[in-house]
Every structure is written in C-alpha cells, then in structure tokens.
C-alpha cells in the first residue's frame, strides 16, 4: 500500500497528514518531504488519521526528525493515533518520548 502525504504550513508550524502506510518502501517519501521542510519548521504535527501501519523504517524517520527538532528547541506532535501504531509506540517506549494527542 502506498503513502499519500498532504502538508499544510502556517508560519513555523507544519502539519503533515498521512494516508496509507509507512513501510520500507514508503518511508523515504516521508523522510524527503519532512527533511526539505525542517529548516523552516519549529512545530511539526503529524496526523495519522489515515495511517495505522508504521514499520520500523517509519519509526527511524520519526526518531531522526524528533532529534533534529528538539536540538533547535522545536517540537513534534503525533495526532489521531490508531490502535496498531499505538501498540508499536508503546512497545518501543516512544509513546513517552513523542508528544501524542
């Protein structure tokens, strides 16, 4: 399954809505989009309403972006998390690291 990304910027806040799956094949697409936008972003909001499958390839992208944002005093928020993704975040301990609504 492919991954569709829609992004919306308001000043320094970037919201990316994910539709599909973040897996080995699609994670580079997410990485490319966010990497290009991070220099102008202080708050990154990732909306998972349309995506409940995030493999470790996707987690690596999230952890990497989180570290970059935190270093410059920014923040990352994950919203509309589904059941499967919540389990993955819980097992890896990332649920206590990322801001989750």
């Amino acid at each position: 399954m492919d991954l569709e990304l829609t992004s919306n910027r308001e000043g320094k806040e970037l919201t990316v809505s994910l539709n599909g799956e973040v897996n080995t094949l699609t994670a580079p697409k997410l990485k490319d989009l966010i990497d290009g936008q991070l220099p102008d972003t202080d708050v990154l909001v990732l909306d998972f309403a349309g995506c409940d499958f995030v493999s470790s390839a996707g987690l690596r992208v999230l952890v990497n972006d989180y570290k970059i944002l935190k270093k410059k005093g920014g923040q990352m928020k994950l919203i509309n998390i589904g059941k499967n993704f919540a389990e993955v975040l819980n097992i890896t301990g990332l649920d206590t690291v990322f801001g989750i609504n």
Partner: protein, 136 residues
C-alpha cells in the same frame, strides 16, 4: 506449510505481505496477529533484500503454517545469502533518553516483543529465521 518464492527485492515486499496475510487469514488468525506479522515481513524481508546478498539479489522463501500444541502461527524466512543471525544484533535500551538512543535497532526489538518466539539457524547454506506467535 505454504511457501512463496521471490527475489530479494524490496518491490516484492507487498507480494510477500499479501501472501502471509492470506495464509494467516486461512488459518484463522486474529487481526492483531496479522498486523504483527505484517510488521515482521516489512522488517525481516526488508533486511534480507537490503543486506543478505550484498549489492545483488537472490532467492528468498517465505513459509507460513501452524505448529505445536496449542497450534501457533509460524512464519519462516529462508535466504541463501551471507550467514547472519539477527537475534545477535544489539538490542536498543529503550530506557535510555532519546538523545542517547541509536536511531536504528528498533525493528528487530519490536518484532521480538510482538512474537512469542524467534529462532535462527544456518542450515544447508541457508539463513532460516522462524517466528512463532500464538493466536489471540
């Protein structure tokens, strides 16, 4: 055990996922079990594609079936690339502050946590990685 034979190319991940999902479905596995094996295919088949045959590609067999009593779902990955035991990989310390954690290493940790057991053997020139998960 039902088997699928594919080349170690990441473009084949969806085909392997579909095969594993259909077989687990036929075995009566729950949605959670199917979702967990899907993660496992992405991680483990993905790793075989990226590393087992160096820069090249080679054959991979993925098999699905039931074993044991009570019966547990089993998915096995077999490749004839370089001998590599992923169970010997360093596990991330998830208690560490995120700043001190390596970005990688999470995948194999995740799969181990989700499965009931994982075993590895190098047999007849093949890496055989077997995952077992009770239905529930």
């Amino acid at each position: 055990m039902k088997e699928i034979h594919v080349d170690s190319k990441i473009e084949n991940i969806p085909e392997v996922m579909d095969f594993v999902r259909a077989e687990l479905e036929a075995l009566g596995c729950s949605e959670q079990v199917k979702a967990q094996f899907k993660m496992a295919v992405d991680e483990l088949f993905g790793n075989i594609c990226l590393y087992a045959y160096g820069e090249g590609t080679g054959p991979v067999t993925v098999s699905v079936g039931l074993e044991g009593d009570p019966p547990a779902a089993v998915v096995a990955f077999c490749d004839s690339g370089s001998p590599y035991n992923p169970l010997e990989a360093d596990l991330p310390d998830i208690g560490l502050d995120i700043e001190d954690r390596p970005v990688g290493g999470l995948g194999i940790f995740l799969i181990r946590e989700m499965m009931d057991s994982m075993s590895y053997e190098y047999k007849d020139g093949c890496n055989v990685l077997k995952l077992t998960r009770l239905n529930g």
